[in-house]
Symmetry: C2
Subunit: 248 residues, 2 copies
Amino acid sequence: MKSYGEFCALSRALDVVGDRWTILVVRELLIAPSRYTDLHKALPGIATNLLAQRLRTLEEAGVITSEEQPAPVSAQVYMLTDWGRGLHTVLVDLARWGVPLLAPGIGDDHSQGRWLVFAIMALFPERADYPSLTVRIIADGDELLLTAGAGGVQTTLTSPGGPADITIEGRSDDVFRTLSGELTDKPTAPVSGDDAALQRFSQLISLAYTHDLDVAALGPRTLTASASPGHTPAPVPRQPPRTTQRRG
Amino acid sequence: MKSYGEFCALSRALDVVGDRWTILVVRELLIAPSRYTDLHKALPGIATNLLAQRLRTLEEAGVITSEEQPAPVSAQVYMLTDWGRGLHTVLVDLARWGVPLLAPGIGDDHSQGRWLVFAIMALFPERADYPSLTVRIIADGDELLLTAGAGGVQTTLTSPGGPADITIEGRSDDVFRTLSGELTDKPTAPVSGDDAALQRFSQLISLAYTHDLDVAALGPRTLTASASPGHTPAPVPRQPPRTTQRRG
DNA sequence: CTGCATCCGCTTCGATACTG
DNA sequence: CAGTATCGAAGCGGATGCAG
């Protein structure tokens, strides 16, 4: 990408990670260190030359590293540097901002269970007292382990079959709706576990970030808001207006 | 931008704000509501048709609004919606991640004093007990007022000439170096104020976020880090390797 | 003067094919 | 498996024009 050529921390950050696909490459490496082919499979639609160029640029910039895996696997593995791992907060915040965009559901989009880790991190902010609970999530070809507790909620991509208090299995959008507390009459994704665990689970999802509390956290508003008389601050829309077309 | 076509909060957010220039438009509107011409001046290098298209897309997506300013000014003013203002956190976090990229200084880049507000927000995280102090910053054609106190640090673009405890005037990079605590032998930007204020100022900049504490905040690392034997976690580099060229 | 639209050379992207 | 090479299509950057 052509540099913006600005002395600004934000635009210089965008010079590094502002290209198309770049943030998504970082997302995959935040979920797990990956080989080239893993990344290619995890990023449906990326051209192979683009992936190669992004990886090269990110490595030159010091965001990622590649390691030749020696004996048994014999493959090159890409992973984030410490600096690159600092993007974790940024991606989670951006995902949190984008959570309302999940409301329309999957539609024709691609879906991989692993992508839920960001939605989940967005849903359950860092420090809060969550009930102690492990949840196994099986969705769209991936298996995740959510670990809630006093320290917060962590979610990792895991190998299948481990033990957990609760198991949820279903399509990503159903799982997400369940986790975000949209337990209407019928739970959209089947949840299994014993009664005590189910109760703690119910407690957990009642703590999900609802996006209606966010109005207080507003940025600087230099011009007076009284430009329009009788202005009443509107609540954050759960679902922003969708006039643009998706999947062009 | 073509949609990524993924059921993922992050990539759907990028579908909205992932285009080139888009985040920078949001940056300007976070600093202050602006007219078309203001934005065009504040974004050196953007093509006029691109700015128009970005504004249209952002408005359709519900990120910004435009208001016809009626009587005296007779101009259209663009501003963020509440949802759009929710990007504040994201941009500050990204700016914080990009702060090390400011180390090389301005060079041939454009510079506007207003852009310092993000560097400053990145430097002084939200809740901490800062000394009570106001600082007037005059840099690269803009004037800012920094207000520190128990509630945190806020910085706003202001009209020239107001009162403050401290005044800093200089090029953006010198001002930034001063604020980030790089007070070597000679302060790079002239700082004026009475002794008591100067002492509180010295206190303030000693609290600036140094990027060396950030190593603890790491993302999920699914593969064992012991893949490379004798791995010692490297500290976050103050200045990431710069092999890529700027200002293509 | 503000707020764009149009045109054009150039770069980047997307898709497929091909190679060590 | 891990990329490079190629080529049409789309997007960007810069200049210019023009209506309210």
